[in-house]
């Protein structure tokens, strides 16, 4: 018991802890129900015991916290109930209603001992959380966001979130890889566990990875199967659901289970009950593409054939029609040409006739016109001739008068001139007769002298003076050279004639 030192009452630690223990044991005699959040289960596999860390939160802040003990036997019993009722094991993060006793151990301190946990409370709470998650997503306006994305015409490239060894994944691969239509899919696994506490975290990480290479994929497929309905509560996680809702690629979920849809499935683009259904959906998409293509091919072939044969028929009938129409037109044209020729001929004749008549009338007109013109011209000429005659007569008279006058003038003028001339001539004659007389006298004198000379010069007189004329052949010889030796020459003298023959010639020298 306590001892006294220096007037102070002193307890040993054990005394204190024992005292606390006694007090608490006295105070908390019976067990009681407590609600709290399982912050950490702290399960120790070796011992099989759990030391859960329980908290109470208000606005996200811890306002109460206590350490608990969950002994091995209790844990096994509670956990199996949970698995059975909740489809979930006892785990971190859930709200629990538990039966507890409080105890104090001198060595380990104060602790709540969990004797039992009521699973229905947790279920209700999980459901409540699920509803809250849905509401929150709806309030944020993103609940249907992933559904608004459009899947391409062919969902061919798939990023798969699954577990390599899971049956669901193997089934899915088997289906899409060995489909009987020869459809080819590209798939790549982004492994993540699909149940339990770590699931949401791992899935979020893989989704982040996929996001980085999203251009290589058409959709994300969450494949889970064969795991029963256990451990699905993480699929109701608000955080995970939000990532999926906001994911840039359409998310297809094939999480095999029987119970109600999880939030993740609700926000997915499309959700399928099993991975096989998901695969079938992909096939259906391909069928939806392939069938119209096949049909298009058939339609195009059939329609083309039909079109060509129709066109052929049409062409034949057109050709036929064309021929008959052409023939008709030819006949019509021929007839029309004939008619036109006839009509042209008639019209020409008519026109010729008309023209002829017209020309006749013109000719007549010209003739008449000419006649009239000639008559009037004749008359005019006659008239003109008459007038001219008169004019000429008048003119002649006029001229006669003028001529007469002129003649008279000429006569008078001539007389005057003649008179003048005559007088002049008289004067000149008188002068002339005087001079002539003188000239005659002189001339007489001269003539007398000349006569005397001439008499002296006569051949007789000359010959009297001793000169002779030599004749050769009756002609006077004037040139010495004409006379040659032997010539018979005559020499005329004053009183006779001598006949001689030339004995010699001698040329007189020039003096």
């Amino acid at each position: 018991m306590s001892e006294e030192i220096n007037g102070k009452k002193i307890f040993s630690l054990l005394e204190v802890t024992n005292s606390i223990k006694k007090t608490i044991a006295d105070r908390y005699k019976s067990s009681f129900w407590v609600k709290a959040e399982m912050n950490k289960l702290n399960y120790f596999p070796k011992s099989g015991h759990c030391y859960p860390d329980l908290v109470e939160k208000q606005d996200g802040k811890v306002i109460a916290q206590i350490r608990c003990n969950l002994w091995k036997d209790d844990y096994i019993k509670i956990n199996s109930t949970f698995q059975r009722v909740l489809k979930e094991p006892l785990k971190d993060g859930i709200k629990i209603l538990f039966l507890a006793t409080i105890s104090f151990h001198p060595e380990h301190g104060l602790a709540l001992r969990i004797i039992d946990i009521d699973p229905s409370f947790t279920i209700g709470n999980l459901e409540k959380e699920k509803q809250e998650a849905i509401k929150k997503l709806q309030d944020e306006g993103i609940f249907r966001q992933n559904k608004t994305l459009k899947l391409p015409l062919l969902t061919q490239r798939i990023a798969i979130i699954s577990v390599n060894t899971s049956k669901g994944y193997q089934d899915f691969l088997g289906k899409i890889e060995k489909n009987s239509w020869g459809y080819k899919y590209f798939h790549m696994l982004f492994p993540s566990i699909l149940q339990g506490d770590k699931m949401a975290e791992q899935m979020a990480t893989q989704l982040k990875q996929i996001k980085k290479v999203r251009t290589h994929f058409d959709a994300v497929a969450i494949i889970r199967g064969g795991g029963g309905d256990v451990g699905l509560s993480s699929f109701n996680s608000y955080e995970l659901a939000k990532i999926i809702a906001l994911f840039p690629l359409p998310v297809l979920s094939g999480i095999g289970h029987i119970t109600n849809d999880t939030v993740v499935e609700m926000v997915s683009h499309k959700s399928f009950i099993t991975p096989t259904d998901l695969a079938n959906f992909l096939f259906q998409e391909f069928h939806n593409f392939s069938v119209p293509v096949q049909k298009a091919q058939e339609t195009i072939i059939n329609k083309s054939r039909r079109l060509i044969s129709d066109e052929k028929t049409k062409f034949h009938s057109e050709a036929k029609l064309f021929r008959s129409v052409t023939e008709n037109i030819l006949i019509k044209s021929r007839n029309s040409i004939k008619e036109q020729v006839q009509s042209l001929f008639q019209q020409s004749q008519f026109l010729f006739k008309n023209e002829k008549e017209y020309l006749y009338s013109i000719r007549e007109g010209i003739r008449k016109g000419t006649n009239t013109f000639c008559i009037s011209a004749k008359q005019e000429i006659k008239q003109f001739a008459l007038t001219m005659k008169k004019d000429v007569a008048a003119q002649l008279n006029h001229f006669k008068l003028i001529v007469n006058q002129n003649a008279q003038q000429v006569v008078q003028g001539s007389r005057v001139i003649l008179q003048t001339r005559r007088e002049r001539i008289f004067q000149i004659r008188e002068k002339c007769s005087d001079k002539t007389l003188l000239l005659l006298k002189n001339s007489n004198l001269e003539l007398n002298s000349i006569e005397k000379n001439v008499t002296n010069m006569s051949p007789k007189n000359v010959m009297k003076r001793g000169y002779s004329i030599t004749l050769l052949n009756g002609k006077a010889v004037k040139n010495f050279d004409k006379v040659k030796v032997g010539d018979n020459i005559d020499t005329l003298l004053f009183e006779g004639k001598l006949n001689s023959i030339i004995k010699a010639t001698t040329k007189t020298e020039e003096i």
Partner: protein, 73 residues
């Protein structure tokens, strides 16, 4: 393939040709051209159903690079 038309466009164009031909909007003059084109489009569509050009290794490499570059989100 003659041009870089994607399968969605090919599919739509093909449907267009089918509609035209069914509606009798195609004349014989255009037919050959259209059928030729349709054959091309069908080839593109069928090829799409049975082939993919993606490569896991390439994506892994890309992921690696992206991770090394650091997370930007």
């Amino acid at each position: 393939m003659s041009d870089k038309i994607n399968y969605t466009e090919a599919f739509e164009e093909l449907q267009g040709i089918v509609t035209e031909i069914e509606g009798g909007e195609i004349s014989v003059d255009e037919l050959s051209e259209k059928v030729k084109r349709a054959a091309q489009l069908i080839k593109i569509c069928k090829a799409k159903l049975t082939t993919t050009e993606e490569d896991v290794n390439k994506i892994l490499k890309e992921l690696d690079t992206a991770t090394k570059d650091g997370d930007d989100e």
